[in-house]
């Protein structure tokens, strides 16, 4: 029983941290730019495809692929923000949603054109492909790695936003765009930078998914974006702390649900979201508006 519970916890932690990797970029972009970016799942997908392509080109070196792949996706993020999103910031939310959704369809089709419509089985990460015994049952090393990377990214983002000059400017621009602009912050350039950083986070999530999910498919972003949105809603749209905790809760809840109350495992996640929306519409850590 102990073995079972420990493994259910580990599976939940790795699932939660994996969702966090994707939700972090989504939350950052919403928190600063106030844009609900549906295409964030596409950055996850592009991150996975680029990482896979580079690792194939560079002698099956996954880590090099993980370094280069997401940078290419940043270019796509730059183009999307600079030439499209920038012109809809002042419009109502539905217009932004429509535009980002258009990009979802666009990116899906681009992936089908360049990589084919079929699924691609992807290789394990070199050095982390094995498993170690935890209380007599094997647990994949790569899942442990994901459990470690999640908090690392969270801490790095916290330090960056709270303890650096640039982070301070970003926070200033996000809380009052006009005032920041008035005191000489180049807000448009800053927004582009933040959007690219969010894009990079999504793409890193995708790159890390290459060994974690073991499969690349066009449309893979659409499955993960739903989870990421649920996490963001539970934690509070725009709150990184909330998204981190939300991801942990969702990961553990679905893992325990699958194991112990399988009939209701999907129900649990969404009932939690519904309860939070009723009881605390701004989410666990969201600012009430």
């Amino acid at each position: 029983m102990l073995q079972s519970i420990v493994h259910v916890c580990l599976a939940g932690l790795s699932a939660g941290m994996f969702i966090w990797l994707v939700a972090s970029g989504l939350t950052l972009i919403f928190g600063v730019l106030r844009v609900l970016n549906f295409a964030h799942g596409s950055f996850y997908m592009l991150g996975a495809y680029f990482c896979y392509t580079f690792l194939r080109f560079m002698g099956e070196n996954f880590w090099l692929g993980l370094l280069v792949g997401p940078l290419c996706v940043c270019a796509a993020g730059f183009a999307m923000e600079r030439f499209f999103l920038r012109y809809v910031y002042h419009l109502a939310l539905p217009y932004q949603l429509l535009l980002t959704f258009a990009f979802v369809l666009l990116f899906d089709d681009l992936v089908k054109i360049f990589w084919g419509a079929g699924s691609i089985g992807s290789p394990a990460a070199p050095g982390l492909s094995g498993s170690i015994s935890v209380l007599g049952r094997n647990f994949p090393v790569y899942s442990l790695f994901i459990i470690g990377v999640g908090p690392l990214i969270a801490v790095a983002m916290w330090v960056f936003l709270e303890r650096t000059w640039l982070g301070c400017i970003i926070r200033a621009a996000s809380s009052d765009r006009e005032m920041a602009s008035a005191i000489g912050v180049r807000v448009p350039a800053l927004y582009t930078g933040v959007f690219m950083f969010g894009t990079w986070l999504g793409a890193i999530g995708g790159g890390l998914a290459v060994p974690y999910v073991g499969l690349l498919t066009p449309g893979m972003g659409e499955t993960i974006i739903i989870d990421a949105f649920v996490v963001a809603v539970i934690g509070g749209m725009g709150s990184l702390k909330g998204a981190f905790l939300g991801a942990l809760v969702i990961g553990l809840l679905s893992s325990f649900g699958t194991r112990f109350i399988p009939t209701f495992d999907m129900f649990l996640t969404f009932i939690l979201m519904a309860v939070i929306l009723v009881w605390r519409p701004q989410g666990l850590f969201g600012e009430s508006t």
């Binding site: 419509a117 079929g118 790569y142």
Partner: protein, 427 residues
């Protein structure tokens, strides 16, 4: 100067000759071969085909399309169907039932389709069947597997417009039970899709296997929702139960993810007897590569190395030449659909729905997958697909079937009237 004007007598002569030629013509130049009976067929013959081209399963639509295009090219190069050109339009079904119905209505009402084909999901097939009765066109289902389509809609409700060319859930569960009965396994478990297809197969597998063996029990089941990418929690559930056998109707990308994650967790060292009813799909074999363990039981709706005869091997060679790819099972069922339509039209001498249905019922025809017969009562194609054990073969960059067991469709498919004794295997 010669008289150039035609005299009245000449004119009469010419007229008589023309009349004689016209009268004799049909005899002298009578069409021969299969389309002899169809001089009045007005072309072209239009087939509206739909399969999933978007989302995570878009690869399946692409595989359908390869079969569709190859069949269309070959049939038109050889003179068409009954001498008439074959035209095909391919649309994305998106896996959603409303979209499938919308496409079907477009094909028939706007585009003027004579026949319809395709359909991946059981939900789509069940929703579309009543619409086919209303549109009154033959629909050949090439992928959706639910037995309810043929048992209830075709047999019980009498929707005669629907046919199925691929193997149904009987292959996934009844045939699996025929294999499982001889395995040294007393405790079975499953991770399967959390929707109709997964539930039905597991129930059918349990029922049929219990009839063979009274000493087996089914000790763990875990259901993965559509779109699951992380199977680790499900794998835990199964490992906790410590079963000897594992049966899973996970398919396509989700099966690939599950196999890889199970491998990482050392699952296949703990559970020795594993059965994947749709594991012989090309995308799964290629996607898993070496990570699919040896000695796993797999099957599908067609496997490109079976039957090992000239017709199939030639077809696989032609397919590879055209697409630089091994054919997936949906490529075969899509391809064969057009030859089924061709034979039915040429035999009935018409593309009229009622006449084509009459020709298709009980029709036998040769296809890459072997001889198929459309059962008269429920319009299910009867043909054999093997179950086999995975093995590495240096000729292929993926696992193939080694040892094969063929359970004839006549032995493992449920029989009409589908209720009461003697309708479910073993017979």
């Amino acid at each position: 100067m010669k008289k150039t004007k035609m005299s009245r007598r000449d004119f009469m002569k010419a007229g008589l000759l023309t009349t004689a030629a016209a009268a004799l013509g049909p005899v002298a130049f009578k069409p021969t071969g299969l389309w002899a009976a169809t001089p009045n067929l007005k072309g072209p013959i239009k087939v509206g085909y739909q399969a999933v081209l978007s989302g995570t399963l878009a690869g399946y639509g692409a595989f359908h399309n390869m079969g569709v295009i190859l069949a269309t090219e070959e049939i038109n190069a050889a003179g068409g169907i009954a001498g008439v050109k074959l035209e095909v339009e391919f649309r994305d079904s998106t896996l959603a039932a409303p979209e499938a119905i919308k496409n079907a209505r477009y094909f028939v009402d706007s585009w003027g389709a004579d026949f319809l084909g395709g359909i991946d999901s059981s939900g789509q097939a069940l929703a579309l069947a009543p619409v086919m009765a209303e549109l009154d066109r033959v629909l050949m289902v090439t992928h959706a597997a639910t037995e309810k389509l043929t048992e209830e809609h075709v047999f019980k409700k009498g929707i005669k417009q629907v046919f199925r060319i691929c193997t149904p859930t009987y292959q996934d569960s009844n045939a699996a039970a025929f294999v499982a009965k001889d395995l040294p396994v007393k405790t079975w478990s499953t991770i399967s899709p959390k929707y109709e297809y997964g539930y039905t197969c597991w129930e059918m597998f349990k029922n049929t296997l219990t009839k063979f063996r009274s000493d087996v029990s089914f000790i763990a089941d875990s259901w993965a929702p559509f779109g699951t990418t992380d199977f680790r929690a499900h794998i835990n559930t199964i490992l906790d139960a410590k079963p000897q056998g594992f049966y899973s109707t996970e398919w396509a990308g989700e099966l690939i993810s599950m196999v890889k994650q199970a491998n990482q967790a050392g699952f296949f060292e703990k559970v020795k007897h594993v059965m994947f009813p749709v594991g012989a799909a090309m995308d799964v074999l290629e996607g898993c590569g070496p990570e699919l363990p040896d000695n796993v039981w797999i099957s599908g709706r067609y496997f490109f190395l079976y039957p090992d005869d000239r017709r199939n091997n030639d077809w696989v060679a032609r397919f590879r030449k055209r697409w630089d790819h091994y054919p997936a099972y949906v490529s075969e069922t899509a391809y064969s659909t057009f030859y089924a339509f061709k034979k039915a039209v040429e035999e009935s001498g018409s593309k009229d729905t009622a006449k084509v249905i009459q020709a298709l019922e009980g029709m036998t025809f040769e296809s890459p997958a072997g001889k198929r017969v459309f059962r008269k009562e429920d319009h299910q194609a009867m043909y054999n697909v093997p179950w086999g054990l995975t093995v590495s073969n240096p000729k292929y960059p993926f696992k193939v079937m080694g040892k094969q067991i063929v359970i004839p469709a006549g032995e493992c498919f449920n029989r009409p009237p589908f209720e009461g004794p003697g309708t479910k295997p073993p017979f």
